[in-house]
């Protein structure tokens, strides 16, 4: 696989296998948190952290875990990780912690994490699981940032970021003059609208790729049939030639 192809597959993976837009997993937190870039990044990093570690731990422990108790085992692992993240956030980024609020604790029941543990980590090796956790975490962060970018700009008119540790503003750009913001985008309604539109766009893209693939397949089939026919023709012709030669 060339570098270019790998890159392409990374992005198509991001979009096509996106847990949020592709699989509709973890939407609860996505809708609630995506009000600003800061929140999106904070939540994203927390999820990546939990997801990668839980995938690694689950893949390590999978072989010694009996099927009947795998869910409680995974939940204990995930819950421990989430509590840990929560404590760290509260200690070092109190401002971020207060805006994320209960949603940090709700990472425990984020479907993506349990879902990846169930669907991937328990069946794969440590390395592959870690990579899967990172990919899924990045995809989740990417979706969250896409939604929050749109919501923050339309809802508040300002695109801004601040350092979560010191609360110092890194940049703040006013893109829409004050008075022309669309406050609905700050509310959950705006979250649903943004999410639906982005999900539709991803679906449309997916469909176009599928269609292309189907087309390509069809063409390939047709080409194969043609080749077969030609080969048969050629064989016939060859047979005829042979007959002639015999004769």
């Amino acid at each position: 696989m060339s570098v270019k192809e790998e890159k392409k597959s990374f992005f198509s993976e991001m979009l096509l296998n996106n847990p949020v837009f592709g699989l509709y997993l973890g939407i609860c937190s996505t809708l609630a948190i995506s009000t600003s870039l800061n929140n999106a990044l904070g939540m994203g990093v927390s999820v990546i952290f939990v997801l990668v570690l839980s995938n690694i731990l689950v893949s390590l422990i999978a072989r010694v875990t009996p099927d009947e108790i795998h869910i409680p085992v995974y939940i204990v692992i995930i819950a421990t990780l989430v509590t840990l993240v929560g404590m760290l956030l509260q200690a070092y980024t109190p401002e971020l912690y207060s805006t994320l609020g209960a949603y940090v604790d709700l990472i425990v029941v984020n479907c993506i994490i349990l879902g990846r543990a169930e669907a991937f980590a328990c069946k794969n090796g440590v390395g592959a699981s870690a990579k899967d956790g990172l990919m899924m975490g990045l995809s989740y962060t990417f979706s969250l940032m896409a939604i929050s970018l749109i919501r923050q700009i339309l809802g508040t008119g300002i695109l801004s970021m601040s350092n979560p540790f010191t609360n110092a503003e890194i940049f703040a750009l006013r893109l829409i003059p004050s008075g022309f913001e669309i406050p609905i985008f700050k509310s959950q309604t705006g979250a649903f609208l943004t999410f639906a539109i982005l999900a539709a766009a991803v679906a449309a893209y997916k469909k176009s790729i599928d269609d292309k693939a189907a087309q390509a397949e069809k063409e390939a089939k047709a080409a194969a049939a043609k080749a077969k026919a030609e080969a048969a023709k050629a064989a016939k012709a060859a047979g005829a030639a042979a007959k002639e030669a015999k004769a």
Binding site: E68, V73, I77, L88, A91, P94
Partner: protein, 756 residues
């Protein structure tokens, strides 16, 4: 142990949980103190608002009500309770209440609330907050009508805090006490308030030096609202102490049953022993009548103060007073004076004028004549920095001057010193003008009369350019003058001198005598702020003056305006010296010895050079005789043209500056004057162009005033028109210069030899 056995599963889960638990407790041990610190920091910010700079420690508490979220002790200050309760909004609200160590409420601070604006939110606004702040830990908390739910929740919260605090401090109180609905506050009335609306009148009935009785009138409710009658009272004052002995209402015109609460004996007793500047509690519900009484008392006190003080020791003080504000160059014009109230139009420089040569501020000042105190100030042209200087022109500051007879009694507005001084200067000059007028009419105090016209003395005299820099008080001393180059040692005040009474800057200035241009400037002593003013003392800037005959051709150094001015003042004073020595030096002209004589003359006549206004006026050097007369009016710059002179009657067309010209750089007035040549008396005057204020100045151009000059030899034989001093002077200047001129052809041709 099989992987599927129950025991295996149990052990596995147990181990997992143990490991996780250990891990978490480890992390918790690490982060818990940091989290606690963070949370305290958030709370601290609020705590700091109540006890700034205090030390706070969170203390354990046992609160049965469950409303208290935190208790913070601040040693030396008190205890703060953080309380959460639910009022109207179901999310509730959080606030803090603090009890000082003595039990009084030390602060009431909303932390977070979403109560409705105009209803529940009123509980967190000034009025109610002030009520709470006025309580102690044993007082019941009053409710706020219209915000019952919210204030009840606050009451419950504070009650819970009170219970804790009082138990802790050992204060016994009645936890079931109910607050009385708060009564309407009694109005606080100060004698310094503006009572002009009540139109107080006071008349002295008797004054034996110990006790003075006044019959006073002032409008109350009836007068102010229904155009009814004023209330009347007899006020007895103790003269030596200037305090009220008794108040007796002689006529009551307000609503019976309401207003008369304020005339009850107990209410009137409240005034006894008070003196000017005190304040008194009015009677609630009878505010108007209370004010009316206060106004009457005040008018009596004013009357006593106005009549009681001996006028003997004042003049000297006043001279000093007006010079205090000399740099603001005040100009005053009397608009009206009916003996009780005088109105003055005043202009004085503030920051803009003093520092950047901008416009002066203007105001109308009303003065109570008998008491000599300020009645009102209306600033109508404001030229200083908005947002800074205008704090001075805010009504509540201007009000402070009401009733004041010395503007220095009011503190300057910090950060707006210049504008403050400008206003004070206006007031002082109006007061001086008033005093001067009184003294002038009684002809008792010539000294006071002089101070009475600060405008005239301070008005810029165009002929002397140095007056531009007069505030820097430039001094120039001739070091050498060989007729081609004059060297001066000069001093002039810059920032340090003008603002901090520090030293003047000093410089050596060389001037090219024939051209009157600067040859070199060297700063020899620099007294201003290093790093700021020295930009203007730098050679690169000083060199710009070389070859210049008017220092204003060079721009000031930005950021070093004062020093720039100081330098320019020095240069100007040197140039003026050269100019002043000119007529003396140039007249004998050409020959070298005369020049040296001129030099000695310059150095020998320091008075003359120090008073460039006088020296520069051509009359003083050339016409000894008219020096006395015409120079009196020289600031009006009369211009004279002889129309005809047949030896019997001379007709002059003449222009002379009045109010408009002197104060607003407007046009001069113009007139035609006929003089009887043999007797040198005025035959007739006709004003052909009038440029001053109509309705004011034109009193001095009315025929009945002009006709007074007929047959007069000296313009000053006729008194000026009060309220139109400038125009009067303009007219007199015309007349005087015509009279002066008339003599010339009769005596001899050249002006220089004119003499009588």
């Amino acid at each position: 142990m099989s992987k599927d056995s129950t025991a295996y599963k149990a052990v596995l889960l147990a181990i997992l949980c143990a490991v996780c638990g250990l891990l978490l407790s480890g992390i918790n041990a690490l982060t818990a103190p940091i989290i606690a610190k963070n949370q305290l920091a958030t709370v601290m910010a609020s705590l700091e608002q109540i006890y700034p700079g205090g030390e706070f420690t969170e203390v354990e508490f046992d609160d049965p009500s469950g409303l208290i979220q935190g208790v913070y002790k601040s040693p030396g200050n008190g205890t703060i309770y953080k309380i959460h309760n639910v009022g109207y909004n179901s999310n509730g609200f959080t606030f803090m209440v603090a009890f000082n160590e003595d039990g009084s409420v030390g602060g009431f601070l909303p932390i977070e609330h979403n109560e409705t604006d105009g209803f529940g939110a009123r509980c967190f606004q000034d009025d109610y907050t002030a009520t709470i702040n006025g309580l102690t830990s044993s007082d019941p908390v009053p409710l706020l009508s219209g915000a019952t739910l919210t204030s009840t929740a606050i009451q419950q919260g504070i009650d819970a805090a009170k219970a804790l605090f009082n138990a802790d401090a050992g204060i016994s109180y009645d936890p079931n006490a109910v607050a009385e609905p708060s009564a309407p506050e009694a109005p606080k009335i100060a004698f310094s308030d503006d009572f002009s609306k009540t139109e107080p009148e006071a008349e002295e009935i008797s004054n034996d030096g110990m006790t003075a009785v006044y019959s006073t009138k002032a409008g109350g409710f009836s007068f102010l609202n229904e155009k009814g009658n004023k209330n009347e009272a007899e006020i007895t004052l103790d003269v030596p102490s200037g305090t009220v002995k008794s108040v007796k209402i002689t006529k009551f015109s307000d609503t019976p049953g309401i207003g008369d609460n304020a005339t009850a004996d107990s209410a009137l007793k409240a005034y006894e022993g008070l003196k000017a500047g005190d304040s008194v509690d009015g009677v609630s519900g009878a505010t108007f009548t209370s004010k009316s009484i206060a106004a009457m008392v005040k008018s009596a006190l004013d009357k006593l103060a106005g009549g009681g003080t001996s006028a003997a020791e004042k003049p000297a003080e006043e001279t000093a007073a007006v010079t205090k504000y000399a740099e603001t160059e005040p100009e005053v014009e009397e608009i009206s004076n009916d003996g009780t109230t005088a109105v003055y139009r005043v202009k004085t420089g503030g920051f803009s004028f003093v520092n950047s040569g901008g416009d002066k501020n203007e105001a109308e000042i009303t003065i109570d004549v008998p008491s000599g105190t300020v009645k009102s100030i209306t600033v109508d042209t404001f030229s200083d920095t908005a947002g800074i200087g205008d704090r001075v022109t805010a009504e509540d500051y201007l009000k402070k001057f009401v009733g004041v007879s010395d503007p220095e009694a009011v503190d300057n507005v910090s950060g707006a010193t210049f504008t403050s001084n400008s206003i004070k200067s206006m007031i002082q000059s109006a007061l001086d003008k008033l005093k001067g007028l009184n003294a002038g009419t009684s002809a008792a105090e010539p000294e006071a009369a002089e101070t009475a016209a600060p405008a005239e003395t301070a008005a810029p005299v165009e002929t002397a350019s140095v007056s531009k820099y007069a505030e820097t008080k430039p001094e120039a001393e001739t070091v050498s003058n060989d007729g081609t180059t004059a060297k001066f040692r000069t001093k002039s005040g810059g920032f340090s001198f003008l603002n901090e009474n520090g030293d003047k800057n000093e410089a050596e200035v060389e001037v090219d005598v024939p051209t009157g241009k600067v040859k070199s400037v060297k700063v020899t002593k620099f007294a201003d702020t290093p790093g700021i003013g020295d930009k203007a003392a730098d050679d690169s800037w000083l060199s710009k003056f070389v070859g210049v005959s008017d220092p204003d051709e060079v721009d000031n150094v930005s950021g070093a305006t004062f020093t720039s001015k100081s330098i320019k003042g020095m240069i100007q004073s040197a140039l003026d010296q050269v100019k002043n020595s000119d007529p003396a030096a140039a007249a004998p002209a050409a020959s070298a010895p005369d020049q040296t004589a001129a030099v000695t003359e310059t150095t020998a006549a320091p008075e003359e050079t120090k008073a460039p206004e006088a020296a520069a006026a051509p009359e003083t050097t050339s016409k000894d005789d008219s020096k006395q007369t015409a120079s009196r009016f020289k600031e009006t710059e009369p211009e004279l043209e002889e129309v005809s002179n047949d030896g019997k009657t001379a007709v002059y067309r003449i222009k002379s500056g009045g109010f408009s010209f002197l104060n607003e750089k407007g046009e001069k007035n113009e007139g035609e004057i006929e003089i009887d040549v043999p007797t040198r008396t005025v035959k007739s005057i006709k004003i052909t162009k009038f440029s001053d204020t109509t309705g004011i100045g034109d009193k001095a151009t009315a025929d009945d005033f002009l006709s007074k000059f007929a047959g007069k030899k000296d313009a000053d034989d006729v008194d000026g028109v009060s309220g139109a001093t400038f125009t009067s002077n303009s007219v007199k200047a015309m007349i005087q210069s015509s009279i002066d001129k008339t003599e010339a052809p009769a005596a001899a041709l050249p002006n220089t030899e004119a003499g009588k």
